[in-house]
Symmetry: C2
Subunit: 202 residues, 2 copies
DNA sequence: TGCTTTTATTGACTTTTGTCAACGTCATTG
DNA sequence: CAATGACGTTGACAAAAGTCAATAAAAGCA
């Protein structure tokens, strides 16, 4: 299970066998059921998570029960309720495993240890943060400058797997739109399946 | 002018006089006029900018001429077209100084030098990135889970200076809404100035 | 200062998206 | 295999926000 972590990091940091062993010792494995809650809203996120298999979502839920998906975390990626984990504050968001998943968890304390004592870990983290930050900037741009249809088309282009793999409900609140709107977008965008390659008459 | 940079960083990193001198040597001062363009869309952002005085905005402009403000950078803060600067790619966004400003500029190359040779610089950068990333996550949340009025109220609460200081036009496209909608929000939110403290009758 | 240009407000109307409700489909399971 | 429940689609309507246009106000500039 730790092999997945190693292959994910291998291109980004060079460690000795002893160092890998040490790193692995801090990441605790866990398996989750479908829909299992990993972090409740209001609690401090104590762990950074690495997804070996499956998929997690970090989401908000307002007073009316409306959910908004802040992030999705797929295989080979790290994630947590980042503001809570970083600032040691109660989380506005909850974390749930959408599918039965295998994950590795490292505590805040142990993560600081890695930053302090593993040469190159801080650099790797800095570069990883840059990439995550860029992703979030791109997402902000799409939210402030595009309508729902454009956002959907771009997601379709850049990440069709996400759309195929996840229930509509979750894709919709990731895009910041209602489920019904997404459903309508899909049917209006869709190439008509029934039309034959050559067209009727000939 | 470099003193402003020093006081901004002083709490975050400890450097010797020689190190400060070296850092200062890499940040080149520049003064800008109101509305001066600092980076054109399509060019690679070569500099990280530090605002000593004034205000910059990083903004997108679509084919119809609609502008969206990705970020605002005030006194004492760093900023650039981050994805472009980091990935060395043509920028989707442009940078403009909203007010006549004094800034310090450091090139990509020199910034990498600081990361490589100044002890503690990478850590400071990593922590700064965490904070910027958190800000962007909070902004994403507000965009996917709130309507225009809620977003405006929160901005009003958290950053009233921004609303007072900047033209409506820019506040509006920072919020991802039209100028007219912002104008209506303002007048509907506003406490009626004409109403007397006690009410009419009595 | 007075003139010009930009910015802000308001009204009327359109478009987009949300909400509520009904219904269909599919998978699960008792 | 029928019943249940979750998910997806569709329609009708409501609410939110955008667009266009006219005007007012303010800010910058000569």
């Amino acid at each position: 299970m730790h092999e997945s972590l190693k292959s994910s990091l291998a291109g980004k940091i060079k460690l000795s066998d002893e160092q890998w062993t040490f790193v692995f010792s801090l990441f605790k494995p866990k398996t989750t059921k479908r829909n299992e809650l990993l972090l409740e809203k209001g609690k401090v996120s104590q762990y950074l998570l690495f997804v070996v298999k499956g998929c997690l979502r970090v989401f908000l839920i307002d007073d009316n029960g409306n959910e908004s998906t802040r992030f999705l975390i797929f295989e080979g990626r790290f994630g947590t309720a980042f503001p809570s984990f970083t600032l040691r504050q109660p989380s506005a968001a909850a974390i749930q495993s959408i599918e039965a998943s295998e994950i590795l968890m490292i505590s805040y304390h142990d993560y600081q240890t890695l930053l302090d004592i593993v040469p190159g870990w801080e650099r790797m983290t800095r570069i990883g943060l840059e990439m995550d930050y860029i992703d979030s900037i791109v997402r902000i741009e799409s939210l402030i400058s595009m309508d729902a249809k454009q956002r959907y088309n771009i997601l379709m282009e850049k990440n069709p797997k996400l759309i195929q793999r996840l229930p509509n409900k979750i894709v919709a609140d990731y895009l910041g739109i209602s489920q019904e709107t997404l459903s309508r977008l899909k049917s209006s965008t869709q190439v008509r399946k029934s039309a034959s390659p050559e067209d009727g008459k000939r």
